[in-house]
Amino acid sequence: MGKKGPLAGLRIIDSTTMVAMPMALHIMADMGAEVIKVETHTLFRTEAARLLYADNEPGDDPWNRDGSFNTLQRSKLGVTLNLKVAEGVQAFKELARISDVVVENNRAGTMKRLGLSYEDLKKEKPDLIYVSNTGFGHTGPWRTYAGIGRMFELTCGLSQFTGYPDEGPRRVGKSFFDQHVGWTAVFAILAALHYRQKTGKGQWLDLAMYQIGVATMGDALLDYEVNGRNGRLMGNRHPYHAPHGVYPCRGDDKWIAIGIENDGQWEALVEAMGSPAWALEERFADASSRLKNQDEIDELLSRWTVGWEHGELMEALQGVGIPSAAVMNSRDVLTNPHMRSRGFYERVEHRADSGIGPKIYFGRPWKMSKTPAKIRRPAPGLGEHNEFILGDLLGRDSGEIGRLYDINVLGKTPTDPPDFKPPSYQRQLEEGTLAGYDPDYAEIVGTEQDA
């Protein structure tokens, strides 16, 4: 039982693209649900356009070699169903009949036009749970607005706090709220499953990204409701404590984050610095005076941190209980001894014919003691499980499956692939978009051994 994961026995149809829903469903697949990604070879895999080709080689099948896609679709089975053809729609309906959950994030109205809306599929499977994920929900004046992940930091109110105070609001994440939405979607789907367990009833979930993002702003919203106050740009600062920021260390673009949250931590920091005269002055003695004079503290503290190697300084400061951290880049994170020792990263061996070899992926930020989750299989190549799903699950014979290929319902290569070129790391290094490129990265991350 344990090996199967906590969600063993569930079957979920994943008819989604982008980040939020694919992420929710790879987590559910890691937890043992059988997640079937339904896509079509007649449209390009949009997630496979991040230009993170395995070993920077697009190869003969670049749509199967993108790291971003392969992260978001891991642990899933994959089938290509062209829903513009009646036979494709029919196969989707039959799949819904033997599934517990259908998740889609198409523009409102698309599934209805295809005859695959909740109302349609409920006829196939009365207790089906059907999730529609959109930017703003299926009702309200903004219901038709594009739900683009990278805009939600702004729209949900987070950017009013984010940015250097002398500059203006900024985004931090790439598509920040996508992941919040993904995680909340897992909770929402499970809530519907718990309800079905009790009542035998399925339902349609209207999951709006906007509402999930705004739910992280509850204190800010109440601050406006009660005190009439809006957010302000915080940089890396804390509303009540100082020093609280990111300070330079030895070397190019090396930084330490230090966040003092009480007098004891400040005293420990002063001692770690060797009790310099400035730090003992009255104007830095308590929280409110430090807050008032924090520009000056930041300046003086920087002069001390810049002589240190950032990892060593983190160890020294953490050793005396000061919340601090080296600012880690992707190499630092992937080789971090703590996360490594916790098994946060998992090594996945890809199919031999993919040419991808072993790669490291992040796991999940939690461990379950009795029903552990794990990455069950690499992301499916385009159409990889067509025969299993059409044949074994839906009972089509090989002649019928062959006909579905002939009439373009099924396919294993995109009908209209764009021109793939690997990005030039040299150019990106020169212009500074990349901080570094390690030709020996496979050895550095230990891809060859178990992660």
């Binding site: 309200g140 809530a191 601050d223 809006n230 957010g231 939690w366």
Partner: protein, 407 residues
């Protein structure tokens, strides 16, 4: 009354601050009976965290605490006392979930670790939320929002190329941790339907942020490249303060783009919607030319964008299928017609603060919706009801427990 989604679960929320309380709130919002057990005598430290009602730093006036603890009942309990520990074991007997955020190993040192609780209630799911998890070399490191951002890879690639790395200005790591704790706990309850057994979940806040920044690890494992904060705004990029970044409008900030479905709309089409069809597009005829004339594009467009009111721009362009963002303030959210029409807010009476409008419904389950049933508990508000009424502790014994500092 409608059947709820999660009303069959009893949750003991021993956690403090944001992450654990948010997870427990998500259960409470969808029907679970959640009992918040606060450390006696001062309670959840979040009671001391602002913003406060009318800026009065009073333990019943923290708006953060209020938001995260609505729909819960509350008791106080001192786990350092033998009598307090005994009460907790009583509470655990018929609970389904216990959420806690003590330092790793603390509950075990009191004889209240997972192994101890499992003996009392084998079906219990215990979710432990800590900065760095229950084991590993950094187990006892001090965590904070700033620390998690720094140690996830997220911060290194955020901010200006030539300035210090930047995090969000509102502590999102705790909200991530809470949402993750909520789904993991619910999955363990789902698993219990098959196995009949509870289990222990070890959640790391630092890994929660690292999981959020998932493509950092993938990038390095796939390509050996390390992404830095972008030096300049490139076409299609979204960083910085230029077109396609965040730019000033008349009354705030917007993020304009020419993206209108796929592919991007031509310059002429975009400026027509902007109200300036007369603009010369000879430098901007296609995407390649736009990429080569970024500065000229900013010179032409930024002054025109500044004439638009932020929400007017957002509504005008979004309703025409363009991609646009608007930096909404808390006031904008409070007055948002979309949230209003979706019934996002609900009102409730708080004994000290009066009537408050509370956000909000995270997602819609039409058969078993979110509901706001009670305001956040006052410190120890339900001590008599829970210990006296439900555990059957006598009135005299309650007085004694209070005198002992157990509750």
């Amino acid at each position: 009354m409608l059947e709820t989604a999660l009303g069959q679960f009893k949750v003991i929320d021993l956690s403090t601050h944001i992450a654990g309380p948010l997870a427990a709130k998500m259960f409470a919002d969808y029907g679970s009976e959640v009992l918040k057990v606060e450390p006696a005598p001062v309670g959840d430290p979040a009671r001391g965290v602002g913003p406060f009602f009318h800026d009065d730093p009073h333990p019943e006036k923290s708006l953060l605490f209020f938001y995260l603890n609505c729909n819960k009942r509350g008791v106080t309990l001192n786990l350092e006392s033998a009598a307090g520990r005994k009460l907790l074991l009583e509470l655990v007997k018929d609970a389904d979930v216990l959420l806690e955020s003590f330092p790793a190993g603390y509950l075990a040192s009191l004889g209240l670790g997972y192994e101890d609780l499992e003996k009392v209630n084998p079906g219990l799911v215990v979710t432990s939320i800590t900065p760095f998890g229950q084991f590993g070399p950094y187990r006892d490191y001090a965590g904070s929002d700033l620390v998690y951002y720094a140690m996830s890879g997220m911060m290194y690639s955020s901010g200006a190329h030539d300035r210090e790395p930047l995090k969000h200005g509102h502590p999102q790591s705790f909200y991530m941790g809470g949402m993750i704790a909520a789904y993991a706990t619910s999955a363990a309850l789902f698993s219990r339907l098959m196995t009949g057994e509870g289990q222990h979940i070890d959640l790391s806040l630092q890994e929660s942020v690292a999981a959020h920044h998932y493509d950092s690890a993938t990038r390095y494992s796939y390509t050996g490249t390390i992404e830095r904060r972008a030096p300049k705004v490139e076409s299609g990029s979204f960083k910085g303060t230029k077109f396609e970044g965040i730019v000033p409008a008349a009354d705030g900030f917007i993020a304009p783009t020419m993206q209108r479905g796929r592919p991007t709309a031509p310059f002429h089409e975009y400026v027509t919607f902007l109200g300036h069809p007369e603009l010369d597009d000879s430098l901007f005829a296609d995407r390649q030319m736009i990429a080569e004339h970024r500065e000229e594009l900013d010179e032409v467009l930024l002054p025109l964008l500044k004439e638009w009111k932020k929400l007017e721009y957002f509504n005008a362009f979004m309703s025409e299928g363009f991609v646009a963002g608007v930096v909404q303030t808390s006031e904008d959210l409070a007055k948002c017609p979309q949230l209003e029409e979706r019934g996002y807010f609900a009102e409730i009476e708080h004994p000290v603060m009066g009537r408050l409008r509370v956000p909000g419904e995270m997602f819609r389950l039409p058969e078993c919706p979110w509901s706001l049933r009670r305001a956040a508990p006052m410190l120890g508000e339900h001590n008599a009801e829970v210990y006296g009424g439900e555990l059957g502790v006598s009135r005299g014994e309650l007085v004694r427990l209070r005198e002992l500092g157990a509750i």
